[in-house]
C-alpha cells in the first residue's frame, strides 16, 4: 500500500497562535479520516474568523491537545526555528508470528506534515506573557500592521484547509476499509527528528 504524503503550506504564526492553528488543522485532517459514526462539532476559532469541524470524540480531543502542548514546549526551547509536526495514519499489521517475535507492525498509509514558522516579532509580542509589556504608544500603524498580519495568517490558514480538502478528495483509494465499530483510523502525532 502506498503511503500518501501531504506537505501543507507553511504558516507563519506567532507563539500565541500556535495552539489554535494546530487544533484547527489537526482536527480537520482527523475529521476526514474519522470514517466511523461521528457527531460533527463546529468550533469557531477565537483568533480568526474560521469555523472548523471536530469529530466530537473527547478522547481524541484530549490527545491532540496533549500533543500540541508537547509541541509548544518544544518550540519554546527552540525559538525562531522552523518547526514541523507530523500526523500519520497507520494500519496495525501483525508480523508473522514466530517463536521469537510476536510484534505488530505499523504500516503508515498517510502522512501529513504541518509546517510552521513560529515568529517572535520584537514589535509585536508573540507570547501571551508579554502582552502586558506592550509598547507605550503603538499608534495606529502598529494596530493596522497587526490586523493586516492577522488577516494574512487567516487567509493562509484558510488556504491550508482548502489544501486538506483537496487532498482528501483526490486521494481516496489508499484509504483502508472501514472497520466496524472504529471511529477513526489509528494515528500518531510526532515531531520529526530533523527538527528536534
Amino acid at each position: 500500500m502506498n503511503c500518501e504524503v501531504c506537505q501543507l503550506k507553511e504558516l507563519e504564526v506567532e507563539h500565541f497562535e500556535i495552539r489554535e492553528v494546530l487544533r484547527c488543522i489537526l482536527h480537520t485532517i482527523v475529521f476526514h479520516r474519522a470514517l466511523g459514526l461521528v457527531r460533527p462539532k463546529d468550533v469557531d476559532l477565537e483568533l480568526f474568523e474560521i469555523t472548523y469541524v471536530q469529530c466530537g470524540d473527547v478522547e481524541l480531543e484530549k490527545k491532540i491537545d496533549e500533543k500540541i502542548d508537547h509541541f509548544i514546549s518544544w518550540v519554546e526551547k527552540h525559538p525562531n526555528k522552523k518547526s514541523q509536526i507530523c500526523l500519520s495514519f497507520y494500519e496495525v499489521k501483525s508480523k508473522q508470528p514466530s517463536w521469537f517475535t510476536n510484534k505488530t507492525e505499523r504500516l503508515y498509509w498517510e502522512q501529513w506534515y504541518i509546517n510552521l514558522n513560529v515568529t517572535q516579532h520584537p514589535k509585536h509580542h508573540s507570547s501571551k506573557s508579554h502582552h502586558t509589556k506592550l509598547v507605550v504608544d503603538p499608534g495606529e500603524s502598529a494596530t493596522e500592521e497587526r490586523s493586516s498580519r492577522r488577516a494574512m495568517v487567516e487567509a493562509s490558514l484558510r488556504e491550508v484547509l482548502f489544501q486538506i480538502i483537496k487532498f482528501v478528495n483526490e486521494k481516496k483509494d489508499h484509504v483502508p476499509p472501514i472497520s466496524e465499530g472504529v471511529i477513526y483510523f489509528p494515528y500518531e502525532i510526532t515531531i520529526p527528528r530533523k527538527f528536534q
Binding site: 475529521f31 476526514h32 461521528v38 463546529d42 474568523e49 469555523t51 472548523y52 484547509l161 478528495n169 472501514i178
Partner: protein
C-alpha cells in the same frame, strides 16, 4: 441477480447521498432549519440516540426537515441533477421593522433583491459504457463507493464552513439581531444559467467525483467569492421605553370607580387624569403590558417584556417542491417565497424569532392579531390613573415606584411591573384606599396589636389570579389576602405592599395610625377620636376621606380649638376637669361633663389596653 442486488445498493447509496447532501447544505445555510435542527440535536445528544438516517455515511445530523422528504420524492430520478440554490434576499431599504409591524399583511415595502450566492449541483452521471463486474467485484465496488462517498461528504461538510456564505448564515442565525436579509433556498432539477455579470463574481469548486461502475457521483459548487457588497444591517429595534408615570390599570384601582353614595364619595373621589372613561383611556399612552396578552397565542413566553416580533428576516419554511413539473418549481417557489415573506404574522415563526423591545410591543397586537389595538386593549387593559392627594392639593400626583414620602403620596409605592394591570379586575373600590391604609400603618407608629397583625404578614400574591380585590381584615388577625387584578406574569409587589388588609369603603377605619391612639373598631366617637389624630399625613387617602365625611355628617358642631383632640388635651382635661376632648360643645352640667369624661377615659383605657399600654390613672394612684 447478484448484480441487481448490487446495483440496487448503489442506487440506494446515491439516493441517500443526495438526501444527506441536501440535509448538510440546508442545515448550514438556512437559519430556520438550522434552529430546528439545533434544538433536536440538543435533545438527541441528551438521549444519545442515533436515527437510521444518521447512520448513513456515518454522519449524525439529526432529524431531516420534513420538506426534505417531499424533495426526495420529487427528485426521485437519480439521473436528474439536483440543483440547490442558496439565495440571499435583501429587503428594500425603505422598509423598516416598524413598518413591517404596522402593515404585516402588505408586501414588504420596497423591492426584495434576490441574489444566488451559492449553487450546489449534485449529479449522478450514467457512463456511456457500463461495466458488468462479477459478484465479488461488485460487492467490493459498492463498499468502496460508500467509503468514498463518506469522505466526499466529510469534505463537503468542512467546505461549507469555509465558504463566504457561511458567515452570512451565522449572522442571520444569530437570535440577538434581526437583519434586512433572508437566506432562502431553492431546489430543482435544472438550473437557470447565471448572467455574465453574476458569473464574473463567482468561483467554482468541483469535488472529486466518486466513480462507480454504473455511474459517477459528482458534486460541484459555484459561489460568490465575496459577499462584502451585501451590507448586512441589523434592523433598528425600537428602544425600550420606560413609562415613568405608569400608575396602573384603572379597573384595578378602586379610586376610579367609587360607588355612588350619600357620603359624598364622588365629591371627594380622586379625579382621574383626564377624567376619561376606561374605554378611552388606554389610548392615551403606550402600555408595556400589552405586548403579549391579547394575541391569543398559546405561548406568551416569546412575548414577554422582550416581546416577539414578526419574523421577516428568515424564510420560515422551505420551498415545498412536491409538484412534479420542474418548470413550475421556480414559479411555485416564487409564490411561496413571497407568501412566506409576507407570512410574518404566523405564530410558528415566533419560535425562532428574536425578541423585540418592550416599547415595540404596543404595536404588535394590531400587527399580529389584526384587530383594532384599541379594541384589543379595551378588553384587558385600563388607563393609568393619577391619584392626586386629597388634602394636599396635589391632584396630579402620580404614583411612582420610588415615591418614598409616605406623607405625600396617597398610594404605596408600586414597582413598575406591579403597576400593570389586567382589566379583569373585580376589585372593590376600596382596594387602593385600603392599600393606603396599610401604607399609613407602616409609615406610622401602629399599636403593637396592629403591628402584629400586619408586620408579620406577607402579601399573598397569587400570580395566577387575573382578578382579585383588596380585602382587608383589619379587626382580626386573619391572614391577609391580596389579589391584584393584573396580568399574571406581571405581578410584582414591593415589600411595602405586603402587609395589607383592606376593608370596604368608608368603613370605620380602625387601622389608622396615630401617635397616641390605636385602632378603634367600635363606635363613632372612637373613630372620630382616632380619625382626627390620623389625619396628619399618615392616613390612607381613602380612609382620610371616608373618615372626614363621616365626621362631618355625624359629628356635632366642632369646637374651634382643635388641640383638644389630642391625648395631651385629654390629660389636661382630666386634670382640669374640662371636657373638650371630644370637641363637642354644648351647655351641660358638670355632672354630664364628668360622665362624658369618664366614658372617654374608659374608651381610652380600652384602646390603650389593646395596645398593651397600661394606663395608670390618677384615681388609681389615689
Amino acid at each position: 441477480m447478484e448484480m441487481d442486488r448490487e446495483s440496487g445498493k448503489l442506487e440506494q447509496i446515491v439516493s441517500q447521498f443526495r438526501s444527506k447532501i441536501l440535509h448538510v447544505i440546508l442545515d448550514s445555510r438556512v437559519p430556520s432549519l438550522h434552529h430546528h435542527h439545533h434544538q433536536q440535536q440538543q435533545e438527541s445528544l441528551s438521549h444519545s440516540r442515533v436515527r437510521k438516517t444518521d447512520k448513513w455515511f456515518n454522519l449524525v445530523l439529526g432529524d431531516r426537515p420534513p420538506a426534505l422528504e417531499n424533495l426526495n420524492f420529487s427528485l426521485r430520478n437519480l439521473f436528474d441533477p439536483m440543483v440547490i440554490d442558496i439565495i440571499l434576499v435583501h429587503r428594500g431599504s425603505c422598509s423598516s421593522s416598524v413598518d413591517n409591524l404596522y402593515s404585516p399583511s402588505a408586501p414588504a415595502a420596497g423591492p426584495a433583491d434576490e441574489t444566488v450566492i451559492e449553487r450546489w449541483v449534485v449529479q449522478y452521471d450514467c457512463p456511456r459504457f457500463i461495466a458488468t463486474p462479477s459478484g465479488a467485484d461488485a460487492c467490493v465496488s459498492y463498499k468502496k463507493i460508500y467509503k468514498k462517498s463518506i469522505i466526499l461528504l466529510r469534505s463537503l461538510y468542512t467546505q461549507m464552513r469555509l465558504l463566504p456564505a457561511y458567515r452570512i448564515f451565522k449572522q442571520l442565525s444569530s437570535l440577538s439581531q434581526t437583519y434586512n436579509f433572508d437566506l432562502v433556498y431553492k431546489v430543482s432539477s435544472f438550473s437557470h444559467p447565471f448572467s455574465r455579470e453574476e458569473e464574473s463574481g463567482m468561483k467554482e469548486y468541483i469535488f472529486a467525483p466518486v466513480e462507480a461502475l454504473s455511474g459517477c457521483l459528482s458534486v460541484s459548487v459555484t459561489y460568490r467569492a465575496t459577499l462584502s457588497d451585501f451590507n448586512l444591517e441589523p434592523l433598528v429595534s425600537l428602544p425600550p421605553k420606560i413609562i415613568t408615570d405608569y400608575v396602573g390599570s384603572p379597573t384595578t384601582d378602586p379610586m376610579r370607580s367609587f360607588p355612588s353614595s350619600d357620603k359624598g364619595a364622588h365629591a371627594t373621589s380622586f379625579p382621574l387624569r383626564g377624567a376619561r372613561p376606561p374605554s378611552s383611556s388606554p389610548f392615551q399612552r403606550p402600555h408595556s403590558w400589552s405586548s403579549g396578552f391579547h394575541r391569543g397565542f398559546p405561548s406568551t413566553k416569546t412575548q414577554s417584556l422582550a416581546g416577539s416580533p414578526p419574523v421577516y428576516r428568515i424564510s420560515p419554511k422551505p420551498y415545498d417542491i412536491a409538484s412534479p413539473p420542474t418548470d413550475l418549481y421556480g414559479n411555485r417557489i416564487q409564490n411561496q417565497r413571497v407568501s412566506t415573506l409576507q407570512q410574518v404574522t404566523a405564530y410558528d415563526e415566533y419560535k425562532s424569532s428574536p425578541p423585540f423591545s418592550p416599547s415595540a410591543s404596543p404595536s404588535t397586537p394590531s400587527y399580529l392579531s389584526g384587530t383594532n389595538p384599541l379594541r384589543t386593549r379595551h378588553c384587558s387593559e385600563t388607563a393609568p390613573v393619577t391619584i392626586p392627594l386629597p388634602l394636599t392639593g396635589r391632584s396630579t400626583r402620580y404614583l411612582s415606584p420610588n415615591s418614598s414620602d409616605p406623607s405625600r403620596h396617597s398610594l404605596p409605592p408600586l414597582s413598575p411591573r406591579s403597576s400593570k394591570h389586567d382589566a379583569s379586575s373585580q376589585e372593590s373600590p376600596s382596594g387602593i384606599r385600603s392599600y393606603r391604609k396599610i401604607e399609613a400603618l407602616r409609615a406610622g407608629e401602629s399599636p403593637s396589636g396592629l403591628s402584629n397583625n400586619y408586620s408579620a404578614q406577607k402579601v399573598v400574591r397569587d400570580s395566577k389570579d387575573d382578578s382579585g380585590r383588596f380585602s382587608a381584615l383589619l379587626s382580626s388577625s386573619g391572614s391577609p389576602r391580596i389579589g391584584f387584578s393584573r396580568s399574571s406574569s406581571r405581578l410584582s409587589f414591593q415589600d411595602d405592599m405586603d402587609d395589607c388588609e383592606f376593608s370596604c369603603p368608608f368603613d370605620v377605619d380602625d387601622v389608622d395610625v396615630s401617635d397616641s391612639s390605636s385602632q378603634n373598631t367600635e363606635g363613632k366617637k372612637a373613630s372620630e377620636f382616632t380619625a382626627q389624630s390620623n389625619l396628619v399625613g399618615k392616613k390612607s387617602h381613602d380612609a382620610a376621606v371616608g373618615i372626614l365625611v363621616h365626621m362631618l355628617r355625624t359629628a356635632p358642631p366642632l369646637r374651634q380649638d382643635s388641640s383638644c383632640y389630642s391625648t395631651h388635651s385629654l390629660r389636661t382635661e382630666y386634670e382640669g376637669g374640662v371636657s373638650i376632648a371630644s370637641g363637642f360643645f354644648m351647655p351641660r352640667k358638670t355632672a354630664d361633663a364628668l360622665e362624658e369624661l369618664n366614658s372617654y377615659r374608659e374608651m381610652k383605657d380600652l384602646l390603650l389596653s389593646k395596645s398593651g399600654t397600661r394606663v395608670v390613672r390618677k384615681e388609681e394612684i389615689k
